[in-house]
C-alpha cells in the first residue's frame, strides 16, 4: 500500500475547522516582526489527517503487531494500563510549574519511583530527570567529573570504555569533555584485565561498563574490575541498558558501581514510541550524592517538594527545562507496581530463559553463536560469518528476509567486534511458540541462502517497499518535500 504524503492530500483553503478558534483575530505586532508568507503546513480535513496517519501507522512493525527481538533495546510488551493511567486528565493537564501544593499526587508517585529505583539498583540516591539513556550517561559522567573537580583532582579526564560498548558511551565521554580510552574484550567475552590495568592511572576519571555487556554475557570478574579502577582513583559507571537481565538477581551498587543510568523505556517497559521518549534516570552511591542533577523529589514529613540547586549546591545542574519526561516516569511507576517485588525477579528470570532457549535452539540448528561457552544473559549474538563466506549473503540479508517472515530483525552489525552479527533479545514477554517460529524462519532462510540467495538479496519482498537505497539517501539528500513549482 502506497500512501501519499500528507501535503499531497492538501488543497488550498481546506482545513479541520473544529480544531481552532472560530473568530479570526489580528496578531497585533509591528509588521517588521510579522511573518510574510504562511508556513507550508498541510491544508487537509480532519478525516484526511486521520486516515493518512492511521494508514501510515499500519506500515510499521511494532511490539503490538510483531515479535521484535531487537538486541540491546528490550522490546517487551508495554502494558496498556501504563498508558491509560498516565493519561488521566488531571495528570496530563498539570503545569510543571504549578505550586507544589497542587501536585502532591504526582510528586508522591515520583518520590516512590525514586525509592523503588534505589532498591532495584542498590544505589543511595536517584534523580529522574535525564530524558533518555544517553542523557543519563551524560549525567553520570558529568557527576564523575564534578566529583574529581570537587576534590581538585583536575587531571582525571579519561573515560575507559570497552570496545564492545554502545556508541553512546564514547560519545557521552566526549560531550563531557573527556577523552576515551578503549580496551579490548577477550575471546571469552570478558574484559581484558591486563589491558585495563594498562590504561588506568592518574588521568582516569572512570570506566563505563554494561554488565551483562552488549555481547550478552555477564562480566564475572566485575569485582576485580572495580578494584582496579577504584584503586587507580577512578569511578565506575554502569550503563543500565541491560538491567532487564539481572533485575533482582544482582544489583549494580553491590557490584561496586558508583553511578548507573537506567533506561526505563527498556527494563521498565515504557513505550519506545518509534524512537522515544525514554527516560535515563540515574542512581548514585554515597559519594556522588551531592552531584545529582536537579530537580529531585524530597519529602518533608507528609509533604513532597522539589529539591533544587539551593538544596544541592554541588549539583551538576539541570538537564531539562522542567524535570525530565514525567509521563514516561508515570508509566514506569505503574509498571513497577504491577510487577511488584516478585514480578521484577521474574522479568530477569524469564528474559534469560528465553534468550538461552533461543540460543540453544539456534545452535542446535547449526547457527554459530559468538560466545558458545557462556550462558546468554537476556540476549546473545549469532554470527553469520560462515553463511556470509559460503553463500552470497550476509547478516543484513538475513535481517531483511526475516521481515518477510513476519519478524522484526534483531540488531545487526552491533557490537562491532563480532562480524556479520545479529544481537538477539527476545525479552520475557514472548511465548515459547514465538521463539520456535523464529527458529523455523531462521532455518528456512538459511536454506534459501544456500539454494536461492536472490531471495535474501532482494528481500524484503512483501513489505510496503523493497530494500531501500541507503547510499542514495545519504548522497542525494532529500530531507524535505518541496511543492511542485507549477
Amino acid at each position: 500500500m502506497h500512501e501519499k504524503l500528507i501535503f499531497e492530500h492538501a488543497a488550498p483553503g481546506r482545513s479541520a475547522d473544529a480544531q481552532y478558534p472560530r473568530v479570526p483575530v489580528e496578531a497585533t505586532v509591528p509588521t517588521s516582526l510579522l511573518r510574510a508568507t504562511p508556513p507550508l503546513l498541510p491544508e487537509v480535513s480532519e478525516l484526511q489527517a486521520v486516515r493518512h496517519y492511521t494508514r501510515l501507522s499500519q506500515l510499521n512493525f511494532s511490539i503490538d503487531t510483531h515479535f521484535y527481538p531487537l538486541g540491546s533495546c528490550t522490546m517487551k510488551y508495554n502494558p496498556k494500563a501504563c498508558n491509560q493511567y498516565a493519561m488521566l486528565p488531571e495528570l496530563l493537564g498539570r503545569h510543571p510549574l504549578a505550586p507544589e501544593s497542587t501536585g502532591q499526587g504526582v510528586l508522591q508517585i515520583l518520590f516512590e519511583l525514586q525509592e523503588m529505583l534505589k532498591e532495584v539498583t542498590g544505589m543511595r540516591g536517584v534523580s529522574l530527570t535525564p530524558m533518555a539513556g544517553a542523557q543519563g550517561e551524560f549525567a553520570g559522567v558529568a557527576m564523575i567529573r564534578a566529583y574529581h573537580r570537587a576534590r581538585n583532582d583536575l587531571a582525571r579526564t579519561e573515560i575507559i570504555v570497552p570496545d564492545a560498548a554502545h556508541g553512546t558511551n564514547p560519545a557521552t565521554a566526549t560531550m563531557c569533555g573527556c577523552t576515551v580510552r578503549e580496551i579490548p574484550t577477550q575471546s571469552n567475552g570478558d574484559i581484558d584485565l591486563e589491558a585495563l590495568k594498562g590504561v588506568v592511572g592518574p588521568h582516569t576519571a572512570g570506566i563505563m561498563l554494561t554488565n551483562p555487556s552488549t555481547i550478552g554475557v555477564f562480566e564475572r570478574r566485575i569485582r576485580e574490575v572495580a578494584e582496579i579502577v577504584h584503586g587507580a582513583g577512578g569511578l565506575l559507571y554502569y550503563d543500565g541498558a541491560n538491567l532487564n537481565a539481572i533485575l533482582g538477581k544482582v544489583r549494580p551498587g553491590d557490584m561496586g558501581f558508583d553511578v548507573i543510568h537506567m533506561n526505563l523505556h527498556k527494563t521498565f517497559s515504557t513505550p519506545h514510541g518509534g524512537g522515544g521518549p525514554g527516560s535515563g534516570a540515574v542512581g548514585v552511591s554515597e559519594r556522588l550524592l551531592p552531584f545529582l542533577p536537579v530537580p529531585i523529589v524530597g519529602r518533608d514529613g507528609e509533604r513532597f517538594r522539589w529539591l533544587d540547586q539551593q538544596d544541592l549546591p554541588q549539583t551538576i545542574g539541570r538537564l531539562s527545562n522542567f524535570m525530565g519526561n514525567t509521563g514516561v516516569l508515570l508509566r514506569a511507576y505503574v509498571y513497577m507496581r504491577m510487577l511488584g517485588r516478585d514480578g521484577m525477579q521474574r522479568v530477569s528470570e524469564f528474559a534469560t530463559l528465553n534468550a538461552n532457549y533461543l540460543m540453544a535452539r539456534l545452535q542446535a540448528a547449526g547457527f554459530e553463536v559468538a560466545y558458545p561457552e557462556r550462558r546468554a544473559s537476556h540476549e546473545f549474538i549469532v554470527t553469520l560469518r560462515r553463511e556470509a563466506r559460503e553463500w552470497e549473503t550476509n547478516a543484513m540479508d538475513f535481517a531483511k528476509r526475516l521481515l518477510d517472515y513476519g519478524f522484526h530483525a534483531p540488531t545487526t552489525y552491533f557490537p562491532l567486534l563480532v562480524p556479520e552479527c545479529l544481537l538477539i533479545e527476545p525479552t520475557e514477554t514472548e511465548p515459547k511458540e514465538e521463539l520456535d517460529a523464529f527458529v523455523d524462519a531462521m532455518i528456512a532462510i538459511r536454506k534459501e541462502a544456500e539454494t536461492e540467495p536472490a531471495k535474501l538479496q532482494g528481500a524484503p519482498w512483501t513489505l510496503p517497499v523493497r530494500r531501500l537505497d541507503d547510499v542514495r539517501a545519504a548522497k542525494q539528500l532529500d530531507l524535505t518535500w518541496k511543492p511542485a513549482t507549477a
Binding site: 505586532v29 510496503p464 537505497d469
Partner: protein
C-alpha cells in the same frame, strides 16, 4: 505471572533444550557473593485494577486547577485525533526505524515533520527531534562551535531575557566542553535585549549569539538587528523560538538580512500535553550547509530496489552508533512519539489554524493583562509588543499570593522574582486560546479578592 506467558510445561521443555536444571542455573556466572537476596524494599505486586484505583486517587488529589502559567510549557487545545492516533500500538510500541522497510509509517511521518518544521522556521533542514527545548539549545550551542570553524573562542552570548532554565541547562550540558556563556542585558523598561550591549563584543571572537523570540517575559525582541550584528561579527545566530508563534511571527530563517543559522525550541505547544513537564520534544532546524553538524536523527527520501520511493534514516555517519566518540551528539533514543503528536497536530491545525491559535492566545493574554492591571497593586512590567505572556508587578511578595490563588483552584502564574530580583515582585502570566473571557474574569476576581483580604489581614 503478569506479562509472562510461560506455562510450567514451557519452562520444563525450554530448560531441557538448554540443558539446565532450573532457571537459577542460568545465573550461575554471577559470583555468588554478589547475588541479591530478592528485592524486599519493593512493595508486592498490584493488579491493574488496584494500581488503576491508586492512580485515579493520586490524580484526584491534584485536581484540575485553572492554569495561567506558560514559562516554556503552554496549555493549548489538543485535538482528540492526535492522541487517538499516537496511541496506536504501531506508533507507540515501535522503536527507532532501524529497519526502514518495516518502519515506513514512522519514517514517512518524520519526513513530513521535517518538512513542516523547516517551513515553519524558514530554514532548509530539520532533524527528527531532540530531548526538549532547553537541552536543544545546549546542542545548538555545541553545534555552533562545530559549524563556526572560524571562531575559536567558544564564546556564546545569551540574553538575560532568555528562559533562565534554558541558560542553566546550556551551562550544565555545554559547560563541560568549556563553552563560555556571556550575558546580554535587557532593557528595564521594555524587557527587550539591549541591542547596543553587543557593541562591547565588536571585534572580539564570538562563536554564536542566541536570542529567544518571544523572550522569557513574552516580549518580542529586535531579532533583525541582532541577527545582522551576529553575521557582521562572524558569529552564528541561534534563535530559540516558540513554534506556535511562528505561524504569525517572522521565522528565524528570515531574521535580518541573511536569516538565523540555527533555530531550536520546545515542540510542546504542538499537541503535547503539559503532563507535569514532559515528555516534550526539542526541535532544531538549520541551513543546508550545516546539516552534517546537526545532532539527532535525520530522515531522507530515497528509492527501493524497484525504484519506488521510500524513507530511511540518513546521514547516520554523524551519529554515535557509527561515529562514537566523534559523533555530533550522544543522543540515541529521542522523543519520537511526541513528534508523531506534533506532526498530526500541525496537519490538523494547518497554517490557518495555527495562526489563529497564535493570534487568539495573544489576544487572550492582552485581555488578561487588561483585567489584572485594573486591580490596585498590580501593574505591567513591560509595555512593549509581546506574544502570549507578560510580566506583572505586584505590590507584595508573589508566592503567598499564588498559594492563596491555588486554594481557589487557580494556578496564577510563576513567581520570577527569584530569578530576576531587579524586577521586584514579578509574576509571569500566560493565557492561550484555551482560556475564555470567563476564565480571565474568574482569575481577576480571585486575585482582587486575594489582594484585598491579604491586605486586610496584614
Amino acid at each position: 505471572m503478569p506479562f509472562i506467558p510461560h506455562t510450567d510445561a514451557d519452562v520444563r521443555a525450554m530448560l531441557d533444550v538448554i540443558g539446565a536444571p532450573d532457571i537459577d542455573a542460568l545465573f550461575e556466572e554471577i559470583p555468588a557473593a554478589l547475588r541479591a537476596p530478592g528485592l524486599p524494599g519493593i512493595p508486592p505486586a498490584m493488579t491493574e485494577m488496584e494500581i488503576g484505583r491508586c492512580m485515579a486517587e493520586f490524580a484526584a488529589r491534584d485536581g484540575r486547577p485553572l492554569n495561567f502559567i506558560g514559562a516554556g510549557a503552554y496549555e493549548h487545545h489538543i485535538p482528540a485525533a492526535v492522541w487517538a492516533i499516537v496511541s496506536r500500538g504501531e506508533f507507540y510500541s515501535a522503536y527507532t526505524p532501524y529497519q526502514a522497510e518495516a518502519s515506513q509509517g514512522t519514517l514517512q511521518l518524520l519526513y513530513e515533520y521535517q518538512t513542516m518544521m523547516a517551513s515553519l522556521t524558514a530554514l532548509e533542514i530539520s532533524n527528527a527531534s531532540l530531548y526538549d527545548g532547553a537541552s536543544g539549545l545546549a546542542e545548538a550551542c555545541l553545534m555552533a562551535v562545530r559549524a563556526n570553524r572560524k571562531s575559536k573562542s567558544l564564546r556564546i552570548l545569551l540574553p538575560l531575557a532568555l528562559n533562565p532554565t534554558y541558560r542553566d541547562v546550556a551551562q550544565a550540558i555545554a559547560g563541560n566542553q568549556n563553552l563560555v556563556f556571556e550575558q546580554l542585558p535587557f532593557d528595564a523598561k521594555g524587557g527587550q535585549t539591549v541591542v547596543s550591549a553587543l557593541d562591547q563584543y565588536k571585534g572580539k571572537d564570538v562563536t554564536a549569539v542566541v536570542i529567544q523570540q518571544p523572550n522569557f517575559f513574552g516580549t518580542l525582541e529586535d531579532v533583525d538587528a541582532i541577527t545582522n550584528w551576529a553575521h557582521a561579527n562572524g558569529a552564528l545566530m541561534i534563535g530559540v523560538v516558540n513554534p506556535t508563534s511562528l505561524a504569525v511571527l517572522k521565522p528565524p530563517g528570515e531574521w535580518g538580512a541573511r536569516g538565523a543559522d540555527i533555530a531550536c525550541g520546545d515542540g510542546q505547544p504542538l499537541g503535547v500535553p503539559l503532563s507535569s513537564g514532559g515528555p516534550y520534544f526539542g526541535f532544531m532546524a538549520t541551513r543546508a550547509e550545516h546539516v552534517r553538524q546537526m545532532p539527532g536523527r535525520i530522515i531522507g527520501r530515497t528509492v527501493d530496489l524497484d525504484g519506488k520511493p521510500g524513507f530511511a534514516l540518513t546521514l547516520q555517519a554523524r551519529e554515535q552508533h557509527i561515529r562514537r566518540s566523534k559523533a555530533t551528539s550522544n543522543i540515541c533514543t529521542n522523543q519520537g512519539l511526541l513528534v508523531t503528536a506534533a506532526t498530526i497536530y500541525m496537519s490538523l491545525l494547518g497554517p490557518r489554524g495555527l495562526a489563529r491559535v497564535a493570534a487568539t492566545s495573544m489576544q487572550r493574554t492582552q485581555q488578561l493583562v487588561d483585567a489584572l492591571t485594573r486591580i490596585p497593586g498590580v501593574r505591567l512590567a513591560f509595555d512593549t509588543p509581546r506574544f502570549h505572556e507578560a510580566v506583572l508587578l505586584l505590590d507584595r511578595p508573589v508566592k503567598p499570593v499564588l498559594e492563596a490563588l491555588a486554594h481557589r483552584g487557580i494556578v496564577g502564574g510563576v513567581d520570577v522574582s527569584g530569578r530576576y530580583p531587579q524586577l521586584g515582585h514579578a509574576l509571569l502570566v500566560c493565557a492561550t486560546e484555551t482560556r475564555t473571557v470567563n476564565d480571565i474574569e474568574t482569575y481577576a476576581r480571585a486575585l482582587a479578592e486575594t489582594l484585598r483580604s491579604s491586605a486586610a489581614a496584614a
